[in-house]
Amino acid sequence: MQERLATQNRALLRDLAELVRNLQRKKVPHELKEYRTRLLEVCRQFRKKCEKNLVDLARTPELLEDVLSETQQVTQTVRLLSTRLAGPVLRASPKDRLCLTTIKWLHNHHPQTTGIPAAFADGDCAVWPFRLRIAPVYFFPSVEQQGLLYQPLFFHEFGHLLYVLYKNKMDELVRDLQREIEARLIPVSQRNDRYADRQAVERLTVSFTWYRWTQEFFCDAVGLTVGGPCFLRAFSGYLGTMDRGDFYREPEYLQGSTHPVKWLRIRLLVARAKTLGFPDVAREVAEGWALVARTMGIAEDYHGYYAQFFSDAVTQTIEAMLTLANPYRWTKILEQEEKEREDVRSIVPVFNQAWEKYTSDPEGYGAWEVEAVRRLLS
């Protein structure tokens, strides 16, 4: 076993050296350089770990199980670097600059994330909010990467990073909400039979489902707070596949689900958008979804996973989470001021202009976007 572990650590050292060479050799946009530096540092730390493993193996056989576990950790990390994390650098292209600019702007406009490198890879919208050794990696669909319209979707993913940074306090807020939902679901009069037991289990299932749901609602709210109308339009446009499941799900699919029903997410966003001062866009989006629902003959029903009698508790929790994370807040006034100053540091006005242009002049949008992106990146 000793020899096998030594061989594995020597192989890992070779892999890491190769990875370092490839990372250094690749020409990358300047927005990606910090991420490459971070990856090189990770490689250096893990090379050190391998070297230490080789030393420890020679010290005493007592350490075999520990070195085995350490070797497993390094192996997994090298694989992670090779399969996913090095991709943003090794496959970097000048076309990545728009997404990198969006991520960098988000990180730099929040004191909690200033200095965190920007990186993304192809994929459905997602984030791996690594914060310890590596750095968060975002995923974004390849077609949407090149244009301005869907960039605001990064704001939602950024919400997941904010959650991780305040995890303990966020979890406490979610716990209080789960307790509140569970309490409010208890009927005024209770039976003392098997039906009552089943109801108790159902209440538990609903409150546990709300752990993930709350985080998604929080991230939606972060997106809207940061981006304003452009986020609502991007979110509605991207999520709205007009699939029946976007509007209604059977109870067995709601149970323990990772994401709330899309229609419900839109409803909550629309309600928030009205309070943030863009009721027209909110109405337009709400009507669009309602029209599809009516056409399919779908009535709103969340089978107790969401009800009006606990909506105020949900809203209050999301507000408290936003207060804690304190994201950049879009306002009409701020946008106007930034426009007047021609403040190129803010990307949000550009995304809002993009949606305005796209809705008012779809034919002329393509040419406008090319010029807007050029200005943004210059």
């Binding site: 007592e62 520990d66 576990s69 997994q76 690594f130 307790r179 538990l204 546990f208």
Partner: protein, 150 residues
């Protein structure tokens, strides 16, 4: 927006941090016990103790909350951590129980983690061994979630 990848990534990273701390402290304790100098690792050992102490504090808190609920599941806890707690409670209720992980109190685990006394070291080593096996087993699905399976 994709299937809660954030949750898998977070759990993967937490498990790595914890396992690294367990290994560091275990190696250091074994070397101390064998009378082999390990002063160069002292900084890492200090950090490892902090990571382990924080983990044990949080774990105890969630275990105690879960115990108070009939279903052994705590609220306000990410589902992966909640599963770790549920598994711990389920295993602890089995009899006979040989692993010190399940019959050592959390206060004692914390004391051992931070103890330099020779008489505590053997106990600490076996405790860390069982904790590592428990965490590694749990972390497997995150590893597959992040790295995939072929």
């Amino acid at each position: 927006m994709k299937n809660n990848e954030w949750l898998t990534a977070e759990s993967f990273e937490q498990a790595h941090e914890l396992l690294s701390a367990i290994n560091t402290l275990s190696i250091h304790t074994k070397l101390m016990l064998a009378g082999i100098d390990d002063t160069e690792r002292l900084g890492e050992v200090r950090e490892a103790r902090i990571v382990l102490t924080n983990f044990l504090t949080r774990f105890e808190q969630v275990v105690s909350e879960a115990e108070q609920r009939g279903d052994h599941r705590a609220l306000g806890v990410d589902p992966r951590f909640g599963q770790l707690v549920s598994k711990f409670l389920a295993t602890r209720s089995q009899w006979p129980q040989e692993s010190p992980l399940y019959f050592t109190s959390f206060a004692e685990m914390q004391r051992l983690t931070n103890s330099e006394k020779k008489e505590d070291q053997k106990h600490l080593i076996s405790l860390l061994r069982d904790l590592r096996a428990f965490v590694e087993q749990h972390a497997h699905s995150d590893v597959v979630g992040i790295l995939g399976d072929i």
